[in-house]
C-alpha cells in the first residue's frame, strides 16, 4: 500500500476545504471496509486520506416526531441492524443492514461509504430506494438534495463531484399501514455477495386491504438498483391476491437486466428475481396488515 497523508478534520468546512484542495488525489475514509481493501489491493493510491468520522454533520442519527429518519453518512450498519425503532418501522432496512459482511464489518462499515462505493450488489441501496429516501450533499457551492434514485449513475459511479461530500440520507416517515422486507440471495449465509437482492415496501389503504402504493426494487441485476415499475403499477389499487403476487414476480423478472458472472448466470438471477419479489411482497404485506 502506498503511503498517504492522514487527515482528520473536525468540522465540515475543514473537510470540504481538504477535498477542494486535493480533489482527485484525495479519498474520503469513513468505515474503511471498502477503502482499506482498495488501498491494500492498490486499486486506488491517494496521496491524501480524509477521515470524516469526526465531522458532526455526517454523524447525525435522528428520528423526527412523525417517524422520519435522518441517517448521517458515517452511521454504522450495526446501528440500523439493532435500533429497535428501525426494526419496528423499517424492518426491510434492518434486514438489509444485517446482511452486510460480518459483525466486525458492520461495526465499521457505514451507510454513506456503502452508497459512495456504489457496488451494484450493495445491500443498502435497494431498500433505501424502495423507502423513497433522499440524500444531502455538501460542496464548495453549498448543499443540494438528490433523490436516492438519481444518486447512483453506474457501476461504482455516483453524482458526487470530487469536491463534494455525502452528508446524510433521509427516509420519510412511513405512511399508514406500511410494511417492508428485504431478501438477499447468496451462496453462503454470511460474508457473501448478493446474487440478487430484492426490497419491497407495501402501503395499504386504511381499513380495507387495497394497496395504495407498492415499491419493488431489484439489486445486483442492473448497474444500479432499479424499480420494477410495471410490477409496482400492477399492484396499485388492487388487493394483493396470490395471483397478483405471482404476476408481480413475473413482471419484476422482466424488468431485471442481469449479467452472467462467476456467481450466477443471468437466467438464474432472473428466475430468482421472480421468486424473491413474491417472497418480499408477501412478507411486506404481512407486516403492513399487522399495523
Amino acid at each position: 500500500m502506498r503511503d498517504f497523508e492522514y487527515h482528520a478534520p473536525a468540522t465540515l468546512q475543514e473537510a470540504l476545504d481538504l477535498l477542494s484542495t486535493h480533489r482527485d488525489t484525495a479519498r474520503v475514509l469513513a468505515g474503511g471496509t471498502d477503502l482499506m481493501l482498495m488501498l491494500t489491493e492498490r486499486v486506488v493510491a491517494p496521496e491524501h486520506v480524509i477521515d470524516i468520522k469526526g465531522v458532526p454533520e455526517v454523524s447525525r442519527y435522528e428520528w423526527s416526531g412523525d417517524g422520519a429518519l435522518t441517517i448521517g453518512a458515517t452511521t454504522l450498519f450495526r446501528q440500523l441492524e439493532t435500533d429497535p425503532q428501525v426494526i419496528d418501522r423499517f424492518p426491510g432496512l434492518s434486514e438489509a443492514a444485517s446482511e452486510v459482511g460480518s459483525w466486525q464489518i458492520r461495526n465499521m462499515g457505514t451507510v454513506g461509504g456503502n452508497l459512495c462505493t456504489a457496488s451494484p450488489s450493495a445491500e443498502i441501496g435497494p431498500i433505501l430506494l424502495a423507502l423513497d429516501a433522499e440524500v444531502e450533499i455538501a460542496g464548495p457551492k453549498g448543499r443540494r438534495t438528490v433523490p436516492i434514485g438519481q444518486f447512483h449513475t453506474g457501476v461504482r459511479r455516483t453524482v458526487l463531484e470530487p469536491d463534494e461530500l455525502l452528508l446524510e440520507v433521509r427516509i420519510p416517515a412511513p405512511k399508514g399501514r406500511n410494511g417492508s422486507n428485504y431478501i438477499k440471495l447468496k451462496e453462503r449465509q454470511k460474508m457473501d455477495i448478493a446474487f440478487v437482492g430484492v426490497a419491497s415496501v407495501v402501503e395499504l389503504e386504511p381499513g380495507d386491504g387495497v394497496v395504495k402504493q407498492a415499491r419493488i426494487v431489484l439489486g445486483a441485476v442492473a448497474v444500479t438498483p432499479i424499480h420494477a415499475e410495471q410490477a409496482e403499477a400492477k399492484l396499485r389499487g388492487q388487493r394483493l391476491t396470490d395471483e397478483l403476487v405471482v404476476e408481480a414476480g413475473r413482471l419484476a423478472a422482466e424488468a431485471a437486466k442481469p449479467i452472467s458472472d462467476i456467481r450466477a448466470s443471468a437466467d438464474y438471477r432472473r428466475s430468482m428475481v421472480d421468486v424473491l419479489t413474491q417472497r418480499t411482497l408477501r412478507q411486506a404485506l404481512a407486516v403492513a396488515q399487522s399495523r
Binding site: 475514509l29 482499506m36 491494500t40 486520506v49 439493532t82 429497535p84 434492518s94 460480518s102 459483525w103
Partner: protein
C-alpha cells in the same frame, strides 16, 4: 510521513510513530509487540486479526491506526489476568476448540464481545456472532461448544472474571463498556426475522 499517536491497548498507553497507511494490525504487532492478533486474509474476511475497539469487535487489518488513537483497544493479550485465563480462553482449552490456532485469538475476542451482549446464546446465535471468524481447520463444532461452555462463567460485568477476583475492568475500561440488555434484535439469527 511519521506521526506520533497514543494507542491505548489493554489499559496501557503506547506512544507509537505511524505512517498514514499503518494499519492497526501492523501497529499492534510491529510497534507494540503484541502479536496475538494474526494476519490472515488482510481483507476483513477471515477475522483472525479481530480486536475490540471501545468494546466492539473489528478486523484490525481494515483499520487505519491513526484513526483509533485514544480509543480503548483490547487484544487477546489483555483478556487474562496474570496467570488466570479468561473463562472463554479456559473453555476453548477444555473443549479442544482449536487445531492450528491461527484463528483462535480472533475467535476469542469476538466470543467475549458476543457473550457480553448475549450472556446465554443458542448455538445459532453463537454461529451468527462468529460469522466473521473463519477456522480453516473447520473445527467449528467445538468452538461453538466452547462459547456455550464459557457462557455461564462470565460475571455480571461481562468482563469475564468470576466475582471475588480483581475485575479486569479496573485496568481495562474497554472491557466494561456499556452492555446492551440482551440486545434483542441485535445478534439474533437472520432466520428469526
Amino acid at each position: 510521513m511519521n506521526k506520533l499517536i497514543d494507542l491505548l491497548v489493554n489499559g496501557q498507553t503506547y506512544p507509537v510513530a505511524v505512517e498514514g497507511r499503518t494499519r492497526l494490525l501492523d501497529a499492534l504487532r510491529d510497534k507494540c509487540q503484541l502479536t496475538g492478533a494474526k494476519e490472515g486474509c488482510s481483507t476483513g474476511d477471515c477475522g483472525a486479526c479481530t480486536v475490540l475497539v471501545d468494546g466492539q469487535p473489528v478486523t484490525s487489518c481494515l483499520v487505519v491506526a491513526a484513526s483509533v488513537a485514544g480509543k480503548q483497544i483490547t487484544t487477546i493479550e489483555g483478556v487474562a489476568q496474570g496467570n488466570q485465563l479468561h473463562p472463554v480462553q479456559e473453555a476453548f482449552m477444555e473443549c479442544g476448540a482449536l487445531q492450528c490456532g491461527i484463528c483462535t485469538p480472533g475467535m476469542i475476542m469476538t466470543s467475549i464481545a458476543l457473550l457480553r451482549e448475549k450472556p446465554n446464546p443458542t448455538r445459532d446465535e453463537v454461529r451468527f456472532g462468529l460469522q466473521g471468524n473463519l477456522c480453516r481447520c473447520t473445527g467449528y463444532g467445538k468452538i461453538v461448544d466452547a462459547v456455550q461452555a464459557a457462557a455461564g462463567r462470565m460475571d455480571a460485568s461481562g468482563s469475564g472474571h468470576a466475582s471475588g477476583t480483581q475485575d479486569v475492568t479496573d485496568t481495562n475500561p474497554a472491557l466494561a463498556g456499556p452492555r446492551q440488555a440482551d440486545a434483542t434484535g441485535g445478534l439474533a439469527p437472520g432466520a428469526t426475522r
